[in-house]
């Protein structure tokens, strides 16, 4: 068996969605029939999702990629001696030389797709727990300073400096503090959290443990959306493994620190991505947004000081601790330091995960990486930052991906999701959907959001029917929702609406022409 060849077939949910399990079993069967010893490793995804299922073979030159592989291709792959990297129409060469992958700066995602996500040995062999080991030799204040110096800002969307949040919790006096991971990745066009949890779950566990050590919290919760059943299973198994190996429990990593974790499932409410609503949900209640202050950092889960951070923020902490704040801050531009895991999605030829330093332009992502639309039709609009993000036309594509640069164009970076639309999109319908989504997902606490979203749908229906004078009402309503909503749900719903009206005015003036044509 010493000659068995390592084959990687992803277990990432996106890869499974296009048949990775069937490919893995076809390879196992074919190898058995041919008397060929192989070891099939179920890794995370490399993030080149249009190539999934992407099968890799380990050779002395490095890992060679084949994709997208279907079960029908497996026999011909063996005929072509793919186990030695043989020539085949699906042979993509060395995985790490594929331009989409090669030109990235992978820090948070360094191990995703590379290792077996549930092998602790693999994790440690690739630098795992180096950050936590450093942290347990440092004071809490020194850890918090390191995070602050890295310039890391909350990757959930708001971009609040992580170090400041941690410092507040560190300074709070309490008998119990909590670390809560916001894994309620509900924005359409985003999947970085999911890919990381499925592809390198120990990184998240390590990041949360470091946060616990830093601020004196002994208990953590991962609040995971129920739409991610695969990530749930992976996290449960990873936590069990980490606990058995004493990386979680009463003395983590042989130190005097205690830290343990639980995963909790959400139940299909988008609002739970808002941190105070998430805390209400964790406490077992309706997820109604809380007024701030008090800040969750002082009165959070069960009224105790709580760090609430996004998956990406927490999963980046181990890299920062292991490599130093400066090494991280050396990436990026302006006040956006480090890297951003960008998710390229929607109507795009080459969609997937692209981790790059802040500052890359939207155009470079969708043209150089994405290769244009999936349909082959002309590009028309790009929505950046999820359902509360702006729709941008071609003329704004030279905007760099940076918190401030996006804000200056009345958009937002959000969680780094980019959804591409071709020229069949009707931006009036998209604007209507923004209101409809808000009406469905509003927690109902504040009037501008609860009532405003419903009035927005009704008014947009009139605009679409040809009453364009009602656009003045939409404008007025949007101002009110922006100024008076309690949280970002109602406060940012106007962003997609107003950007659609501003940049695509023709779509809001079509109805009379339609009627004339009839």
């Amino acid at each position: 068996m010493s000659t068995s060849i390592k084959i990687y077939v992803p277990r990432d949910a996106a890869a499974l969605s296009v048949g990775a399990n069937r490919v893995a079993s076809a390879i196992a069967n074919e190898a058995k029939n041919r008397g060929q010893a192989v070891e099939i490793i179920r890794n995370g995804s490399r993030g080149m999702l249009w190539l999934e299922p992407l099968v890799e073979v380990e050779t002395d030159k490095g890992r060679i990629a084949f994709g997208p592989v279907t079960p029908k291709d497996v026999s011909s792959l063996f005929d072509a001696n793919f186990l030695a990297g043989g020539a085949h129409p699906l042979n993509l060469g060395l995985t790490e030389e594929i331009p989409f992958f090669k030109n990235q700066e992978r820090l948070t995602f360094a191990r995703v797709g590379v290792i077996d996500p549930l092998s602790l040995d693999d994790y440690i062999a690739h630098g795992g727990f180096a950050g936590l080991k450093k942290a347990i030799e440092m004071t809490g204040a020194a850890i918090v300073q390191e995070v602050a110096d890295s310039g890391l800002r909350g990757r959930g969307g708001a971009g609040f400096p992580t170090g400041i949040k941690w410092k507040t919790v560190l300074g709070a006096e309490a008998d119990q503090k909590y670390i809560v991971c916001n894994a309620d990745e509900g924005d359409s066009g985003t999947f970085a959290d999911r890919m990381l949890m499925e592809g390198d779950p120990f990184t998240l566990i390590e990041g949360m443990a470091i946060a616990g050590v830093a601020v004196g919290a002994t208990k953590g919760f991962i609040y995971l959306r129920s739409e991610y059943p695969h990530a749930y299973q992976t996290l449960l198994e990873a936590i069990r493994t980490a606990r058995t190996a004493k990386w979680l429990g009463p003395a983590i990593g042989g130190s005097s620190y205690a830290f343990d974790l639980e995963v909790r499932l959400g139940a299909g409410a988008y609002i739970c991505g808002e941190e105070t609503s998430l805390l209400e949900s964790l406490e077992g209640k309706r997820a109604i947004v809380r007024a701030k202050p008090p800040l969750p950092a002082l009165k959070g889960l069960f009224g105790k000081p709580t760090i609430v951070n996004n998956v990406m923020s927490l999963a980046t902490i181990p890299w920062i601790l292991a490599n130093g704040a400066k090494a991280y801050a050396d990436f990026g531009m302006g006040r956006s330091r480090g890297t951003l895991p960008i998710q390229l999605a929607g109507n795009i030829k080459q969609g997937g995960l692209i981790e790059k330093a802040f500052g890359i332009t939207l155009r470079e992502i969708i043209e150089t990486y994405g290769g244009g639309t999936h349909s082959g039709r002309p590009f028309r609009a790009l929505q950046v930052g999820g359902p509360l993000g702006a729709y941008f036309p071609d003329t704004l594509l030279d905007t760099p991906m940076d918190y401030e640069a996006m804000a200056s164009k009345k958009g937002l970076l959000g969680h780094g999701g980019m959804v591409v639309f071709d020229d069949t999109v009707d931006l009036a319908q998209q604007a209507r959907f923004a209101f409809e989504f808000c009406a469905k997902e509003s927690c109902g606490k504040c009037t501008p959001c609860r009532i405003g979203a419903t009035r927005g749908v009704e008014t947009m229906d009139k605009v679409i029917a040809g009453d364009t004078a009602k656009l003045a009402l939409i404008d007025d309503l949007c101002h009110l929702m922006t100024d008076a909503s309690l949280c970002a749900m109602g406060g940012l719903t106007p962003v997609p609406v107003m950007s659609a009206i501003t940049h695509f005015p023709d779509d809001f003036n079509r109805a009379p022409k339609r009627m004339a044509a009839e």
């Binding site: 969605s17 249009w50 359409s188 997820a287 069960f302």
Partner: protein
């Protein structure tokens, strides 16, 4: 399996020690019975020392919890922006026009439930759906035809 108060009580007891146990209990009940019967409300309220209105409020707040059993096959079809850009609304129209299947309802024969979800995290391979818990990408009319006819389709197998 029909609702059974004794079984439900034992499920509630299994989870009630957790802090903030409401959602774990509701998920476990739905996992077991396929829905959360209204008779669960007093059981949970008693066990957690919460009011019945708080428990009823929680059950009705979250989209996941069903008030009646679903069909044998459950399709959760994503209708968020990334899947819209790939034509998910065309699929919704196809289900209705060709198969008479309405969204967020169960067919009269009890075989099929199709529900709207907003994002399954498969946004680069849309339109996406969860079919009986299996994530499927690049969903098309062909696949939905098989689902509606109760036929197996190789793409539903992971």
């Amino acid at each position: 399996m029909g609702w059974d108060d004794a079984v439900a009580s034992s499920i509630v007891n299994e989870y009630k020690h957790l802090s903030g146990a409401t959602l774990p209990i509701l998920h476990a009940l739905q996992e077991n019975f396929g829905y959360v019967d209204k008779r669960a409300v007093p059981l949970i309220a008693d066990a957690l020392n919460m009011s019945k209105s708080e428990i009823y409020g929680a059950i009705t707040f979250y989209h996941d919890f069903r008030h009646e059993p679903a069909g044998e096959t459950v399709v959760k079809l994503c209708r968020a922006e990334a899947c819209q850009s790939m034509g998910c609304e065309r699929l919704v129209a196809h289900l209705k026009d060709v198969h008479g299947v309405e969204m967020n309802a169960t067919t009269k024969d009890g075989r099929l439930t199709v529900e709207t979800v907003y994002c399954l995290g498969n946004c680069a391979l849309g339109p996406a759906a969860l079919i009986n818990g299996e994530l499927v990408g690049r969903v098309d009319e062909d696949l939905l035809d098989a689902v509606c006819k109760g036929q197996s389709h190789e793409r539903m197998a992971g």
